[in-house]
């Protein structure tokens, strides 16, 4: 199959959705002639013009409001937070308005928009441009939260998100933008709420999100040489979460390691731990479910510190090995 980068896959999804449906449009900072801070929307202005690829002033609350207002009156906007960090300015609109509107109005409104956010560390962008805030939104009823880990998923999940009739937080990872993988040319969707068993294995269940999926895969290759076989599951949608494959896997392996980039304390790893704990997998646990996550620190500028602030392949290898060997 043809290979595309994660970024190209996202762009293709947006292009195809816009070609198919006049109601779809893009709105955000520098998404037009600049092509987006990371180039995701490059070329779309030429194809669709400034009425559908809308550059905004630096007004993140305004961008979110524009999505909500357009969505509830019949359009299907795709908004962009240039760096996911900037969503801190749009929280009121997303959480108090977008997420709750349908509910507050007695189930009578539809607010179909996708907010794309470029998240994660690894580019030296320091504390205010490297956050992984997805669990905030997992905690907000009315929102869905999506985190693609590969070009294939990026396209399929974005198309599913655009088709969905709810407000969706779509977290992309900056460091993944240039990674490549097979992507079909035609439009296809990956249903929201479907976990993906990325690798099968018998010794340990690793639940990983976003960039941690590829790191976990690399770790698995290394450990395989030692005879340790990881089963890797990517939830893809954090909310709604497809728990079943995770629980089944833990029943099989008896052990689980959760890996995410976001700060450990208060993060999604806790949620996953509890989901496993509260399921029938509890009775099958041979070891405690462990979390390997970002350290409890803002992301440092220094390259080396930045590297060590979040899980890397070697950390996954080490933690996984310890768990499998009963050293915890």
């Amino acid at each position: 199959m043809r290979e595309l980068s994660y970024m190209e896959a996202l762009r293709e999804a947006m292009r195809q959705a816009m070609q198919k449906d006049d109601r779809v449009f893009l709105i955000g900072e520098d998404i037009g002639i600049y092509g987006g801070a990371f180039g995701v929307s490059a070329g779309l202005l030429d194809e669709f013009g400034p009425k559908r690829i809308i550059d905004t002033p630096i007004s993140e609350a305004g961008i979110a409001g524009a999505c909500i207002g357009a969505a509830v009156t019949g359009m299907r906007p795709i908004g962009e937070m240039q760096f996911s960090d900037f969503v801190v300015i749009a929280m009121e609109q997303l959480v108090m308005q977008g997420a709750k509107m349908r509910f507050m109005f007695g189930g009578k409104a539809e607010v179909p928009f996708v907010m794309r956010l470029a998240g994660g560390s690894g580019t030296g962008a320091a504390a205010q441009h490297s956050e992984s805030l997805e669990n905030w939104f997992v905690h907000v009823p009315g929102l869905k939260v999506v985190m693609p880990s590969s070009p294939y998923d990026a396209k399929g999940l974005l198309l599913a998100a655009i088709e969905d009739n709810n407000p969706i937080m779509f977290f992309e990872h900056k460091v993944l933008y240039k990674t490549k993988g097979p992507v079909p040319e035609e439009m296809y969707t990956i249903p929201l709420g479907q976990s993906h068993v990325v690798r099968e294995g018998k010794d340990l269940t690793v639940v990983a999100t976003s960039i941690m999926v590829s790191r976990a895969l690399e770790a698995a290759e290394q450990l395989s040489k030692e005879g340790i076989e990881l089963e890797i599951i990517d939830p893809r949608t954090l909310k709604p979460l497809d728990e079943k494959p995770i629980i089944e896997s833990v029943i099989k392996t008896g052990k689980a390691l959760i890996v995410h980039e976001a700060v450990k304390t208060g993060g999604f790893g806790g949620e996953l731990t509890a989901v496993i704990m509260e399921s029938e997998a509890f009775g099958y646990l041979d070891a405690p479910v462990k979390r390997l996550a970002g350290l409890d620190t803002p992301i440092p500028y220094n390259r080396n510190l930045e590297y060590h602030a979040v899980p890397q392949v070697e950390n996954i290898v080490e933690e996984a090995r310890k768990l499998v060997k009963g050293q915890y």
Partner: protein, 327 residues
Amino acid sequence: MPTSSKKEKLIEGVLPESKAHELLYKMVLTRAFEENAEEMYGLGKVHGTMHLSIGEEGVAAGAGPALRPSDYLLNTHRGHGHFLMWGGDLNRMMAEFMGKEAGYCRGRGGSMHIADVESNNLGAQGIVAGNLPISVGVGLSIQMRKTDQVVLTLFGDGAANEGAFHESLNMASIWNLPVIYLCENNQYAMSMAFERAFRVEQVSERAAAYGMKGLTVDGNDVIAVYKAVSEAAEQARKGAGPTLIEAITYRWKGHSKSDRQLYRTREEVKKWMEKDPIKRFAAKLDVDEAGLKEIEKKAKEEIRKAVEFADNSPEPDVNTILEGIYA
């Protein structure tokens, strides 16, 4: 919008007389609704909080009829009057207020979130200025769908100090969006007097910061509001962009249920009660005291029936508690 086809007398040359009488009735009905609301609250028949617009009915009465049923409304926390002027059904409104399943929002929203998406009424608002960014999106959507709709966005003087106000007005202005920003300046944001929170004389002066047209009108003068909103709507429909209208008015009652009103004097309130928008509009329509009494009686009876309707409506079923969150 003339309501009859034969030539009818126009009040101040703009508002058909029959329409004007309808508005007067709705103003009285709004007040009756709110007086009843306060009473029910006192009796423990409703919980939560409520924000009464008594004394401010002129703004809603002027704004509502200046627009078309196809237009959009983004309301505030103090929005009972606007809801009624937008054609809201009193029974379903009362049911919502009382948290009943027959309410506009199935009892989930209450006074602060009452909405009727079907009639393009996009809801009251619990977050001060929370509706302002949304109006950008509604405006964009109108522009993209190429209809001649407009959106009326209401907010208070206090809301004009939120960052959301700034972002919204700027975006609407640079893109020429069909938004009518209608600020109900009742001179207080809860306990915060206008003069303490602003260093301008009028909210409408801020329009200039966005290259937008701004004007201030007497909010207790129905016709003045009607004219201003009509003109803004006409401009917006023509593609001439948004307008910021400030309507000066005054809230007679406390901010919400628990307000001891230490921040203003009785005299000040009394002074403003003499400028009652209902009496003023009645006088303009040559409705005398007896006539007004008659109208009040009719309104109270309608309220009584609505309470009866709501009282007889069932509570939402607890088993439906997780409904209506996701589409």
